[in-house]
């Protein structure tokens, strides 16, 4: 742990970034933050220090801004700990997968420091599944007999095997519209005679505020960032304007 003088900012570095290949970029980031007079407490996550603990420590130290340095996975993992707070969240994307940061208009690596310095903020919706928050989306791969009850008004049933995403933000969805998008993608079917595959039906999209997912027969996994976080049945809803985030001018939403 490196201690700087100011406590307004806390920087939390994802465990996977504590790798030699990111050392030089991390050093550039630290230098740039000092130049911008934005230095603060830096916490590097380890086996002994989890992300929720680091966030709790930052809040205990009255940090006004918590900056997450790492990947999309770190950002999603931090949501439940950050959603109920008034803290402003900054992001410095570093590592393998940083699509969400790009969608927020934040450039990769040291260039993100200047976006933090400009401090344009947006208050974003989050998704909530059985009391757990997410920023981007949930996925149900290979659904066969699934029913989604939407806003207690109508039901969606997939007539053929499909993958289902419940998106707040990312490739699809606007994190400021007060809706989650239920996206049903029919799986490709193989042609009996001939080569390749064809998509036999169009993708369905439903903007909804609250939904309950039920699977006929056995329980099905609901995934976030490639990990199963919960199983069906599950209730998912939008939590409007829940997270204050520093964004860039190049963000994908208004």
């Amino acid at each position: 742990m490196t201690q700087f003088s100011a406590s307004m900012y806390t920087y939390i570095v994802e465990a996977a970034i504590n790798d030699k290949k990111y050392e030089a970029e991390l050093a550039r980031i630290e230098s740039r933050l000092i130049e911008l007079e934005m230095s603060g407490r830096i916490e590097k996550l380890t086996i002994l220090k989890s992300l929720p603990e680091a966030i709790k420590d930052a809040l205990r130290n009255h940090s006004e801004t918590i900056v997450l340095i790492g990947t999309d996975r770190m950002l999603n993992s931090a949501m439940s700990a950050l959603a109920e707070t008034a803290v402003t969240v900054g992001i410095i994307p570093l590592g393998e997968e940083t699509i969400m940061a790009m969608t927020l208009g934040i450039p990769y690596g040291v260039a993100a420091c200047d976006v933090l310095s400009a401090r344009i903020t947006a208050t974003l919706d989050l998704g909530k599944v059985n009391n757990r928050y997410f920023l981007s989306k949930l996925s149900l791969p290979e659904c066969k007999s699934i029913t989604i009850d939407c806003d207690s008004k109508f039901q969606i049933s997939a007539l053929s095997p499909a993958t289902i995403d419940i998106a707040n933000f990312g490739e699809q969805g606007n994190p400021r519209d007060g809706y989650l998008d239920v996206i049903v993608r029919p799986q490709e079917e193989r042609r009996m005679f001939g080569f390749g595959r064809r998509n036999f039906s169009r993708t369905s999209v439903f903007p909804v505020k609250k939904l309950t997912i039920r699977s006929g027969g056995e329980s099905m996994p609901i995934m976030s960032d490639g990990e199963t976080i919960i199983k069906t049945p599950a209730t998912v809803e939008v939590a409007p304007r829940k997270l204050k985030v520093i964004v860039g001018k190049q963000r994908s939403f208004s």
């Binding site: 109508f154 029919p186 036999f200 039906s201 169009r202 993708t203 369905s204 439903f206 903007p207």
Partner: protein, 122 residues
């Protein structure tokens, strides 16, 4: 119009694709495109497009309605109603402007209420 995919729709639009069945009272905020199955009611303050492969058993209320597939139910279109060639409508119609292409089937009562409601300009 019916050949695009979800990417060609606008944010907030609803797309009921061919591999999906929707039952209940659907109230949309944006445009609604139906290419799958729908039973119940469908209401939106924007436009509805019912594609060639769609099977709809519902009362529909919208501004403009374009029907190319099959619908059993009543349509109330405050703007215009377009029945494309091959469309099958079994139900009553209430609209301001009606266009029926040759080959479309309309079995029901049609009530025309004059010019479509225009937005007032300040």
């Amino acid at each position: 119009m019916f050949k695009g995919d979800a990417a060609s729709t606008k944010q907030g639009d609803t797309v009921i694709g061919g591999a999906v069945k929707v039952e209940g009272n659907f109230v949309g905020e944006g445009n609604v495109i139906v290419e799958g199955q729908l039973q119940g009611t469908l209401k939106t303050k924007h436009n509805v497009t019912i594609g060639v492969s769609a099977k709809v058993k519902a009362n529909v209320e919208a501004v403009d309605v374009l029907l190319a597939g099959e619908l059993i139910g009543n349509i109330k279109a405050t703007g215009k109603l377009i029945l494309k060639a091959g469309a099958k409508l079994h139900g009553n119609v209430e609209t301001s402007m009606l266009s029926v292409e040759p080959g479309a089937i309309l079995n029901g009562k049609c009530t025309m209420s004059g010019a479509p409601q225009q937005q007032e300009e300040n």
